[in-house]
Amino acid sequence: MNTIASFRSGGIELVQAGEPDLAPTKNAFLPAIAIVALKQHAGQAARCIVADGDTVKEGQVVGRPQGPGSSSVHSPVPGIVRGRATVSLPGGERSEALVISMEGSFERLGRRIERFPWRTLSKGDLLRLLEDKGAISNLPEGIPLSEKIDAAVKTGRLDALVLNAIETEPWLCSERRILADRIADLAEGLDILSKLLSPARIIVAGAQEDLRKAAATTGSLPREYSPVIEFVPCAKRYPQELPNQVIEALFRKREQAPRVFMISPSTTLEAFESVVFNRPVIERYITVAGESVMNPSILKARVGTPIGDLFEECGGFRGAPGTIIMNGPLRGSSVIDLDVPVMKTTSAILALAGRPERRSRYRCMRCGRCIEACPESLDPASLWKAAERIPGNEAQTHLADCTLCGVCAYICPSRLPLTEVFAAARRARKTGASR
């Protein structure tokens, strides 16, 4: 546990500005009105199966998956479906959403929940549970967990199941918090996953201080709940948490990469709650932070809670915020207003004082900083030139290797919107290919 693993080249040291002071996790107020987007995953929006005026129970299915990449959506609160709304998802897409006003009694809240004896279930039953409860893997963003597991099982034996608890983006803290608060549940979650995946090893990757605590706790767990877990401390250099960089850190090679199934603590927790408590995904750990937030904290909030409510709960804003971001400041997306609801892929909401910089005022001066910093050993300056010259041309095939980590745009002294342009070019290529 003493050597710190890291990736090979590139990356940036970020100051962890205003990380929540790690006050105990609070339960957020339940939303009086929940806005439940039907598209909270990579695939098509879920098909709505309730009508306006229907009474729904807490955790009741309101949307069924349609096709690959789509997942079930549940009502986060008991209440009445008041109608539909359109919400702008972070990243610019729009989705239909159900507006549910909270009413009636909670069946789960505050009651002792039975633990389900899942060890007797078959793999198929376990997968079905994960699917029904709408567990979503946020690595990569928004693939239903059951689908991801299914795909991994089909391609053969796994070398490692990796619980990736690394968070190096400024302010983000939810995954680390889950590791600190819920290690016993995570261990059981990993147990469930390893039953499905049969990996050769189970590895937990995270910051050294986080792992020390976690290792101490897992050591004292009853044997039956704790699979053999290896703890590998990793660097805090951004973007250590991205899958390629985790693999480089853990295995020192990428070529003939070991077969790895990577999962975040929040998704592991979803797997645990789906199976053990038969509980759908209706709650997320949300880091509420940023320069403009009065009392940054980590809240357990219901999916569908408008993010404005959460900011208010954290004491509101200190001055008018300029930018509201869902998830991290390097890879997240800015949102247009405070009505955007918490999604199943949300782990943070940030309010920053500055407006997004007007970019592209300068030209690339070939300083080479982006090349030095790119963790994927790409040449962002050349990619930029190619993208500038002929949008969507062949030279952009290398964009496939770009992880959109944001490092190049962060470091560029000319403030070129490199990552934004790469993301747009990638989207253009994808839609072009699917046509």
Binding site: P356, R363, E376, S377, Y410, P413
Partner: protein
């Protein structure tokens, strides 16, 4: 429902502190002591020269910006280019020369090749070279610092020029030639040297000969910016520390230059007697290597290529100094290396997976 709308853009939402503007600004700040020192040495004429160059640079950049639609003044590079040209002028030069040299630098070299980022030659150095080519007499009319003569405007030869004419191929060391020829050191220098010897070098069993202090303090004729070597070195260290410039280029060039001087001799000295300290401190080597050869736009992106580029500059500087006709070979050395950058980048490309997508 809330109605506040926030502006939306693509990630990332935070960025490093360095921008083109802040980088230009920092470089300008590191040069302020140099300017002040030169004013102290040569009087307010230096400020007039520098002011003219900067004003001309900004004006031309502004005009080009107007013509093109889209001002580029705010990035601060025009100010920097003007400052560099001003620093490359002799103190008493007629003011039209810095004005025209800067206009050439910005109007032709920088903007005609597409503005910042596309120019393949360092604009400031091209401006200085342009001035040397057109007005050689004015550009080599050096004056003695007031500290030596007590009055302004007495002309004198640069140490290098002096050694060249005074020593001939005689084989005396440069410093001795200077002294034998009656090149007077300043009282300040003698005092400083004495102080350093008494308090520092004596304890190490060494002695700093008289004269070098003058060179390092810039108490000698020379162009405005090359005189205050100490201030330049301090500024360079600062730029290295905040990672605005990379050490590889100046280090490699200095190493090659020093080695060649050592083994093949400086101008006016025989092989193996080259005086490295004299060579580095008596011309514009420091200014050009740390401030101009490191220009990101005109130096190679690829680290491997930049080593070759820097070695080339070191070698060319040596050649120009040893055999050249004019003492300002440093500017030409970098300009020639600038022209070779595309070839170097082709032969030693950036090591990346994006190869071949140019």
């Amino acid at each position: 429902m809330r109605r506040e709308a926030f502006s939306v853009s693509g990630a990332p939402f935070i960025s490093s502190r360095q921008t083109v503007r802040s980088i230009s600004f920092t470089i300008v700040v590191t040069l302020v002591p140099v300017v002040l020192w030169s004013m102290f040495l040569f009087g307010p004429t230096t400020l007039a020269v520098i002011g003219t160059a900067v004003a001309s640079a900004v004006a031309v950049e502004f005009a080009v910006g107007l013509a093109r639609g889209g001002s580029t003044i705010h990035d601060g590079t025009a100010v920097l280019t003007g400052l560099f040209v001003g620093l490359g002028m002799p103190p008493g030069v007629p003011l039209f020369i810095p004005a025209l040299a800067t206009a050439f630098a910005i109007g032709i070299v920088k903007c005609c090749f597409g503005g910042l980022g596309s120019n393949w030659m360092n604009p400031a150095l091209a401006g200085i070279a342009f001035a040397h080519a057109n007005w050689p007499a004015s550009m080599t009319a050096w004056v003695m610092p007031r500290l030596i003569t007590g009055v302004e405007g007495i002309s004198g030869a640069t140490p290098l020029g002096f050694v060249r004419t005074a020593a001939g191929p005689g084989g005396v060391s440069a410093m001795n030639a200077l002294k034998a020829g009656g090149y007077s050191g300043s009282a300040l220098s003698r005092a400083a040297t004495g102080f350093l010897n008494a308090n520092f070098f004596d304890r190490l069993g060494a002695r700093l000969p008289d004269g070098y202090m003058d060179l390092l303090l810039g108490i000698r004729p020379g162009c405005i910016g090359e005189t205050a070597i100490i201030a330049l070195l301090a500024g360079s260290v600062l730029l290295l520390v905040v990672k605005i410039i990379r050490w590889q280029i100046p280090a490699t060039a200095l190493l090659v230059f020093a080695a060649l001087i050592r083994f093949f001799g400086d101008t006016g000295s025989s092989p193996f007697e080259g005086d490295v300290l004299f060579a580095i401190s008596s011309g514009s080597v420091v200014l050009v290597l740390f401030y101009m050869a490191t220009d990101p736009v005109t130096s190679p992106v690829s680290r491997r290529a930049s080593i070759v580029y820097a070695a080339g500059i070191g070698a060319l500087m040596f050649l120009f100094r040893r055999f050249g006709l004019y003492s300002e070979g440093t500017a030409f050395a970098v300009l020639i290396a600038n022209c070779l950058v595309p070839v170097l980048e082709e032969v030693l490309p950036v090591r990346s997976r994006t190869r071949g997508t140019k």
